[in-house]
């Protein structure tokens, strides 16, 4: 081997979202964690020796410089469609796949031999999320097989599941490549996000997040026979079955039926029956609207001129127990002789109303809400155009508007409005109710599964009660006033989206949130 140092040439690369310029390039050892690319400050660190592995690492870093987000990373994370870890993991997959298409042998050379130990560690610690993210990140490289070998030494079923997940991720990415735009670095017109090709990363990362947050397959008590078999395989072939599985997959080398059938054995075994099938039904968003995004919430404070009688804040009511008998006259007049005081508080709460064209409510209904739950804040939202307010406070602190503003246009800001509701609830225990038919979308965009899933996730995480009609909200408020727990009645569209994306019903996955006696 000669002493020639091969420094990468990132100045060659062009992007449509950034200006070119001079880079600082440094050498490093070909070990995981050392090479990096800082697109913002134009710094690249890669191994510079002549080995094949170093060459594919250089190509990998160069591809990051070519297609990955620079200072837009935080903006993509802030969209909260997918977690940062999942985004980084899937971005590795995208970059490796693009390198493969550019003529670099990632499947053969990209590995540092530490992956088997990583796989063993993930499986031994039952770190399902870490295992899923790692399996996806190294899919399409020489690391992948080694990682799965490590996993299978501790849990063969996990190995099969992870192989299935990573192969599907590769297949989705490959499909995006064939459709064009996977390496697109232009700025998206609708969302102003860049690079546009990263939207594919986000879409698959959202899917990976759902899989990684699933309950991991439970360990199965291994028989002596199984143990021996595993040891033999590890000793003789180094995880032969994984290799066989991978080989068979590589032979099919496409997205055809044969590839799907190669993994149809997942879920075999009494303890894990159905897990693999369920895994298969979890699918990524089809993303039919480019980079779906929410509008910016602009709230208009209307004059709240109408006072609705009721309990707004604290109030003293008669009680049979207490320290100071303030109502002695009740000895004579009250059969229960409630001579003491006790303080009660209004429940408060926030109702977030989807006021788009598909929804309809009247001034009378808002008044009914206030009467059912005085002290509640009512926020209605609807995107009417490019500019101007898209949300209006219709009621707050016992007062409400005299006349409803002109709404009934698009949705635009569903999630920002719900977030506002959660942020502005009076007390941590105050309920937040989202009234919507579930037809969520960004400004001037069509319905988006990704945005709908984001709303579902947010509502589940923050205990937001979701109902499709105002009368359901009213019903829930009355229930809660009686000290009962508020329940969700998922709108039909959101139920379909969840079923489509996860292969299971939201009401069966989250039964505790669902409204009692509600027929689907």
């Amino acid at each position: 081997m000669s002493d020639v140092a091969h420094y990468p040439e990132p100045e060659i690369l062009t992007r449509r979202d950034r200006e070119g310029g001079r880079w600082t390039v440094e050498g490093c050892a070909p070990k995981r964690g050392l090479p990096f690319t800082n697109i913002v400050d134009r710094i690249m660190k890669t191994p510079v020796d002549e080995s094949d592995m170093s060459r594919v690492i250089r190509a990998h870093e160069m591809m990051h410089a070519k297609v990955s987000p620079g200072d837009e990373w935080q903006a993509w994370i802030d969209r909260k469609v997918a977690s940062e870890e999942a985004l980084r993991s899937v971005e590795e997959l995208r970059v490796n796949l693009l390198c493969q298409h550019a003529g670099f042998h990632m499947r053969k050379h990209l590995s540092d031999d530490g992956e088997t130990a990583d796989g063993e560690r993930a499986a031994a610690l039952r770190d399902w999320r870490g295992a899923v993210l790692m399996a996806v990140a190294c899919a399409g490289t020489a690391s992948h097989k080694k990682f799965l070998t490590g996993v299978r030494r501790h849990d063969r079923f996990w190995g099969k599941c992870l192989l299935d997940i990573s192969k599907r991720a590769e297949r989705f990415m490959e499909r995006a490549y064939r459709q064009g735009g996977l390496a697109d670095t232009s700025v998206d017109n609708t969302s102003s996000m860049a690079p546009r090709g990263f939207a594919h990363t986000e879409r698959i990362a959202e899917w990976i997040d759902r899989i990684a947050s699933m309950e991991p397959p439970q360990p199965e008590p291994e028989t002596v026979e199984d143990d021996e078999k595993d040891e033999n395989e590890a000793g003789t072939t180094g995880g032969g079955e994984v290799e066989k599985a991978e080989d068979s997959d590589e032979k099919s080398n496409g997205t055809g039926e044969g590839r799907e059938r190669a993994h149809s054995n997942i879920g075999v075994g009494p303890a894990r029956e159905g897990y693999g099938e369920r895994l298969k039904k979890v699918t990524p968003d089809r993303q039919e609207y480019g980079v779906p995004c929410w509008g910016v919430l602009e709230i208009e404070k209307l004059p709240l001129v109408t006072l609705v009688p009721g309990t707004v804040g604290k109030k003293r009511i008669p009680s049979q127990t207490g320290r100071n008998p303030r109502r002695l006259h009740r000895i004579l007049t009250d059969p229960q002789m409630r001579v003491f005081d006790r303080t009660i508080k209004g429940m408060g709460g926030v109702i977030v109303l989807d006021a788009s064209g598909s929804m309809d409510f009247t001034h009378r209904e808002i008044r009914d809400i206030l009467e059912a739950a005085p002290g509640v804040t009512v926020l209605a939202y609807s995107q009417r155009g490019e500019e101007g307010p898209n949300a209006w406070i219709l009621a707050d602190k016992g007062r409400m508007v005299d006349e409803l503003p002109d709404m009934n246009a698009g949705n635009g800001v569903d999630l920002p409005a719900i977030e506002w509701g959660v942020k502005h609830k009076q007390r941590p225990s105050s309920p937040v109710i989202w009234v919507s038919d579930g037809g969520v979308c960004g400004p001037s965009q069509g319905f988006s599964n990704a945005l709908a899933l984001q709303c579902i996730r947010y509502c589940l995480r923050n205990n937001v009660i979701v109902v499709p009609h105002l009368e359901d909200a009213l019903k829930q408020l009355r229930h809660m006033r009686q000290g009962r727990k508020g329940r969700t009645k998922w709108p039909r569209q959101l139920r379909y989206v969840y079923q489509d994306a996860n292969g299971s019903s939201i009401t069966s996955d989250y039964p505790s949130t669902e409204m009692e006696g509600y027929e689907h």
Binding site: V4, A5, E11, L13, R22, L182, A183, G197
Partner: protein, 238 residues
């Protein structure tokens, strides 16, 4: 001239020459066509004269000297004087390459020759004739110096407009195959990893008869693999 929009640096140069600026410094990486632009772009109908400055040059190159011709000494004008005279009716253009490399006395003479038209004059030692720059005389100075602070203030004071040329002129790139043109434009200003237009021209010519790997190896040497890898990564379809 190609129909596509000019890069910013060349657009600026066109604007200043078209709007009567007569003293311009073109600086930046070598091989971007600064001298060529000075000699050919703008109003050069009255002639353009090049002066390459070195430490060993003398004032004879600038103003002129007596040369032996047929047994007699004859006065031969230097580049600056020729540019002053132009075509006899209008002054021409003087293109001074690397003025910062000129020796002290030459530098002083050049400063005098590049002074404002009202102040600039030179007396011929033979005839006693006082020369002044004719109307329309322009001067373009080119240098690879990146920091203008490195040039003497007396010089920069005479050249108020300075333009950094960071890529070859689109017309110069037309000589390359279409796929190499944007690459050559970018790599002209890549610092220590700069690749000149001339290198790209050689590579383009060689690859017509050789495998690209071989052509790259001959032209780019040890950098061949990295450059071809970079081209492959950049070419990944979007």
């Amino acid at each position: 001239m190609s129909e596509q929009k000019l890069p910013d640096c060349w657009q600026r140069f066109a604007e200043v020459t078209e709007n009567g600026i007569d003293r311009i410094i073109l600086f930046g990486p070598p091989g971007t066509g600064k001298t060529f632009a000075g000699l050919t772009h703008g109003d050069v109908e009255a002639g353009a004269y090049r002066l390459v400055c070195t430490e060993d040059m003398t004032n004879a190159d600038v103003t002129g000297s007596f040369m032996l011709e047929g047994g007699n000494f004859k006065w031969v004008s230097g580049s600056a004087l020729k540019a002053w005279e132009g075509d006899g009716l209008r002054g021409g253009r003087l293109v001074v390459d690397e003025i910062d490399k000129a020796g002290g006395d030459v530098f002083a003479t050049l400063l005098a020759m590049l002074d404002t038209p009202e102040s600039a004059s030179w007396e011929n030692p033979q005839s006693g004739k006082v020369h002044r720059p004719k109307e329309g005389f322009t001067a373009v100075m080119t240098t690879n110096v990146e920091e203008m602070r490195e040039l003497p203030p007396a010089l920069t004071d005479r050249f108020p407009v300075r333009i950094r040329i960071d890529q070859p002129h689109p017309d110069a790139l037309l000589i390359l195959s279409r796929d190499l043109r944007p690459l050559a434009a970018r790599m002209a200003d890549a610092g220590e990893r700069r690749i000149s237009l001339r290198q790209f021209m050689s590579f383009d010519s060689l690859r017509k008869g050789l495998e690209p790997e071989r052509a790259a190896e001959i032209v780019f040497g040890d950098r061949a693999e990295s450059i071809l890898d970079g081209i492959a990564v950049d070419g990944v379809s979007s």
